[in-house]
């Protein structure tokens, strides 16, 4: 059960960024629920700077260069004010406000940034930047929620109608500007890599990614990526960074490619995130898989096994009906499953790639005809060859099965030919249509349905 001062002292003494950052974490640990309160009530607004100077440094026997020491005192003074706003939620809830917490926290974030840019804070302390950035985002979202629950009417009066949309996320947008400065602060550090803030680059980038996703401005990620690419020569390899930074980064890069329908690249990044993810981080593993499954369907035409989805019942429920229909070549069932899951698929932005599964289902349906067609008689002891000339009418019949067509439905041969040529064009089937004979001539030698063994 360590106090905020203990964490500061230990962090500085052993040079541990995470330990130091835990002093600035505005959440009391379970073992010490009054930690923030006792920090706040240890002083008052008049004496706080002097008290902090004593408690952080003199009492701890810590010595830092004067400027750096002054920067920490300023940061902690500002932290003390923010904690005061937080403590109010317990002590005087009617006067508590997330907007005030956010404003106080933002001020501290700015002091911290200045501490790095002009007051000599050392690079190993950069985990403080992540913690402060992380909570800046959280407090901004709470402040926005608070503002919108107080009624947008007040806004309407002041800003007229066209402003209403933008003001729902006003604080989060403010936070974005501070996070952007943190990003630049890390990326533009020219110190040698061992003592560079560049080690904080992925974590700050991740904070911005999360925020852009929340604000629905994912396009802005391009600017970050461009800046990162421009500095890539000076950045250490990804595997030199802590896995939490890289897994999160790769997840977001994967999803960004995914949303641009670059499924091959998306798969590469998401697979990396999946492989390196901590195996107990169930929620994050589930999120990675939610995008990785549609990627696999599009790029390698493979489906998730029961074992893979077993720990994630929500995903199993979401994907299994589609997978079963794809395997069976059940087009009617596939369409019904797409309709049933539509809201969830759209919400997760995976509808488009999943829809491509219909082609795979169709390929499997047509493949069944080929299998059912058996073998032509073999000549002079050669291994038997499958029947490669298949009447178009058989494909029409298979479509009737696949779409659960009832007696009255008439399958149009032109439409069948259209579906066939589509599959051939997409490389899912190899052969050609001999129209005048009403035959499909499939490729011989195990390549009629490439990649499926026949």
């Amino acid at each position: 059960m360590s106090s905020i001062f203990d964490d500061f002292k230990e962090g500085q003494k052993i040079g541990s960024g995470p330990r130091l950052a835990s002093a600035l974490t505005p959440v009391a640990p379970a073992q010490y629920p009054d930690r923030l309160k006792s920090f706040y009530y240890f002083s008052n607004a008049v004496h706080v700077s002097a008290d902090l100077r004593y408690s952080l440094f003199q009492a701890n026997g810590l010595r830092l260069p004067k400027q750096e020491q002054g920067a920490w005192v300023d940061i902690f003074t500002s932290y003390w004010k923010a904690v005061g706003e937080l403590v109010r939620f317990d002590d005087a809830p009617s006067h508590a406000s997330w907007v005030k917490v956010f404003e106080a926290w933002k001020e501290m974030a700015n002091l911290l940034i200045r501490g790095y840019s002009s007051n000599g804070l050392q690079a190993w302390t950069v985990p403080c930047l992540y913690v402060v950035g992380r909570y800046l985002r959280i407090f901004a979202m709470k402040a926005d929620a608070e503002l919108s629950s107080q009624g947008s009417v007040a806004f309407d009066d002041r800003f007229q109608d066209d402003a209403t949309a933008d003001f729902r996320n006003a604080k989060l947008e403010e936070a974005t500007r501070v996070l952007n400065r943190m990003f630049t602060l890390c990326l533009s550090d020219r110190a040698p890599i061992e003592e560079s803030r560049k080690w904080g680059i992925y974590d700050t980038t991740n904070l911005l990614f999360k925020t852009y996703f929340r604000l629905n401005t994912v396009g802005l990620s391009k600017n970050l990526l461009r800046a990162l690419r421009a500095s890539s020569a000076d950045l250490p390899d990804a595997d030199a960074f802590p896995k939490s930074h890289i897994v999160t980064f790769e997840y977001y890069i994967g999803v960004i490619h995914f949303l641009e329908e670059n499924y091959a690249e998306a798969e590469e990044h998401l697979s990396y995130a999946w492989k390196m993810c901590h195996r107990n981080a169930t929620k994050n593993r589930e999120l990675i898989l939610a995008y990785l499954v549609p990627c696999h369907l599009v790029t390698t035409h493979t489906l998730p096994s029961k074992e893979l989805l077993a720990p994630f019942p929500r995903l199993e429920e979401l994907f299994r009906p589609l997978c079963d229909c794809i395997k069976k070549g059940d087009l009617g069932g596939f369409d019904a499953a797409m309709t049933a899951g539509e809201d969830e698929f759209v919400k997760r932005r995976i509808y488009l790639p999943l829809e491509r599964g219909r082609d795979i289902a169709l390929r499997n349906l047509f493949r069944k005809i080929f299998i059912a067609g058996g073998f032509d008689e073999s000549k002079d002891g050669q291994p038997p060859i499958r029947r490669t000339r298949v009447p178009v009418a058989e494909f029409a019949a298979a479509l009737r099965i696949g779409t659960h067509a009832d007696e009255r439905v008439r399958v149009d041969i032109d439409e069948v030919e259209c579906l066939l040529s589509n599959l051939i064009y997409k490389g899912l089937m190899k052969g050609y249509i001999a129209r005048e004979r009403g035959m499909v001539v499939l490729s011989k030698g195990g390549t009629a349905f490439p990649g499926t063994g026949v």
């Binding site: 992380r134 009417v153 929340r214 070549g329």
Partner: protein, 87 residues
């Protein structure tokens, strides 16, 4: 808080409409979480645990060969009659 008057309500509507057409925003609980630890050894990764042989066959082929091909042939013949009858 103050009550919106009906006139204000109708005024606000045109501004809200384009917003509804935007893609839906993911819920809070759909956000990638911070990991409780910053780094972890290879053995604690998904890949590390896969090496133990526990998670083989994670991805499977998209087709199924074991279902009764004979049933399908029979069904196909029947539907073929219907196709031929209608053309």
């Amino acid at each position: 808080m103050s009550n919106p008057t009906p006139t204000q309500d109708t005024k606000a509507e045109p501004a809200q409409q384009p917003q509804q057409q935007k893609p839906p925003v993911l819920e809070e609980d759909d956000e990638f979480e911070d990991f409780p630890v910053e780094d972890w050894p290879q053995e604690e990764t998904e890949q590390g645990s896969a090496a133990n042989g526990t998670s083989a066959h994670l991805w499977e082929e998209s087709w199924d060969d074991d279902d009764a091909a004979e049933d399908f042939s029979k069904q196909l013949k029947e539907e073929l009659k219907k196709v031929e009858a209608s053309h």
